[in-house]
């Protein structure tokens, strides 16, 4: 990676992931190049089975590619040992999943502080951090609730707060609204919008157009490859009046 690319949060070149072999060979990710700048929000959309979740797992170091290179926060991920990779995932990446993956026996604040504790912060510092994150997502008053006592939207917001616990360089979200009804989706939309406004680098893979529309940039994926890319910022043709049927 040369100096000009040093500013990128994430860079992938020729990324491939294959499963099976011979006639059963599946190219889940098939030759993906990607550059993500700091503060950028990116949505990857595509039908189920298009490889977008596999891609997210590769980018976050949850899985190793068959071929290709990934640089995350300036480090070449392929050269890391398993132990280094685990540390990288913990410190540099925040994951958000469709099924929340909260610890059922821990309260909201305990869930949020867990990554900070694992990263070696003192319990006091971790707790203070977790409380301020819960404040930020508007759930300070639910800090001592168990996940079972929270609504779906609240659980996902707690999961997002947990993803932010170690101030990750990038948050990777896999269908974050996939299990939510429309009002819970709105809660998550608002939160993503505020993360975007705060300059958090964010990659979301989804087939929910609403969450995709919070991003600055959208990539369409089909059969493991990027087939279309567009900026969603600016250039909106047609005013809201036209959209509402008030246009002349």
């Amino acid at each position: 990676m040369n100096d000009a690319d040093g500013a990128l949060v994430l860079r992938a070149r020729g990324l491939r992931k294959e499963y099976g072999r011979d006639t059963g060979l599946v190219r889940a990710v098939d030759g993906v190049d990607l550059d993500v700048a700091p503060g950028e929000t990116l949505a990857v959309m595509g039908p189920s089975g298009c490889g977008k979740s596999t891609l997210l797992h590769l980018l976050g170091g949850l899985d190793r590619p068959t071929a290709g290179d990934i640089w995350l926060a300036g480090h070449c991920v392929d050269r890391l040992t398993e132990r280094e990779l685990a540390r990288m995932r913990r410190d540099a990446v925040g994951f958000v999943f469709q099924a929340f993956h909260l610890m059922d026996e821990l309260t909201a604040v305990e869930n949020v502080e867990l990554p900070a504790l694992l990263a070696g912060r003192s319990p006091r510092v971790a707790r203070r951090l977790a409380l301020s994150l819960l404040e930020r997502i508007g759930l300070a008053d639910r800090a001592t609730f168990l996940p079972a006592a929270l609504s779906g939207g609240q659980r996902q917001r707690v999961a997002i707060a947990r993803a932010l616990a170690n101030q990750p360089v990038v948050v990777l979200a896999d269908e974050p609204t996939g299990n939510l009804d429309s009002s819970a989706t709105r809660e998550v939309l608002r939160l993503f919008e505020s993360l975007r406004a705060a300059g958090q680098t964010l990659i979301v893979v989804t087939h929910d157009s609403r969450i995709a529309a919070t991003a600055d940039r959208m990539i369409s994926m089909r059969d493991g490859a990027f087939i279309d890319e567009t900026r969603l910022t600016g250039g909106t043709r047609g005013s809201l009046a036209d959209l509402a049927g008030l246009g002349g």
């Binding site: 939309l189 157009s209 959208m218 279309d228 909106t236 809201l240 509402a244």
Partner: protein
Amino acid sequence: MLGKEPSHGYQLRARLQQALGPAGDAMNAGQIYVTLSRLEKAGLVTSERAAGLPDRPDRKVYALTAAGQQRVAAWIAEVCWPGPGLAEFHLKLVAAAAARLSDPLAIIDAQRRDLLRRLRHAQRAAMAEPDRSDAALLLEGIVLRLQADLRWLEACERNWAGRKEIS
């Protein structure tokens, strides 16, 4: 529909009926000939009478002129919302594929780009309004409609991508 090949009016009608299904039931043969003669006056279509047959519209073979080809290509490339009904967008895909003018999937991608930009715009405006306000409710309506259209695009994408694999 003429983009595919020069055709008789009844062939055009059959193609439209196949593309539209029951939604196209209200369309009658007269409409097609009226439209064809208008297009002919506008220089977008030419017609040729088959030798030895009476000069009746249903005996003629119609074809696109160069200007007509251009007009069809421009129509297919045009992206707008909510202007065209579902049928118009649908016919663009069918026509683009039949005439091999452009890839239906590329048309779908262009439409999706446009709808997502609109969705982003409307959604941000909706989030800026207080919950439960009248203004937010109207904006929510716009968002839901755009979302429905985007879902239909997904269905179009699945369908046309599937046909591509078969062919």
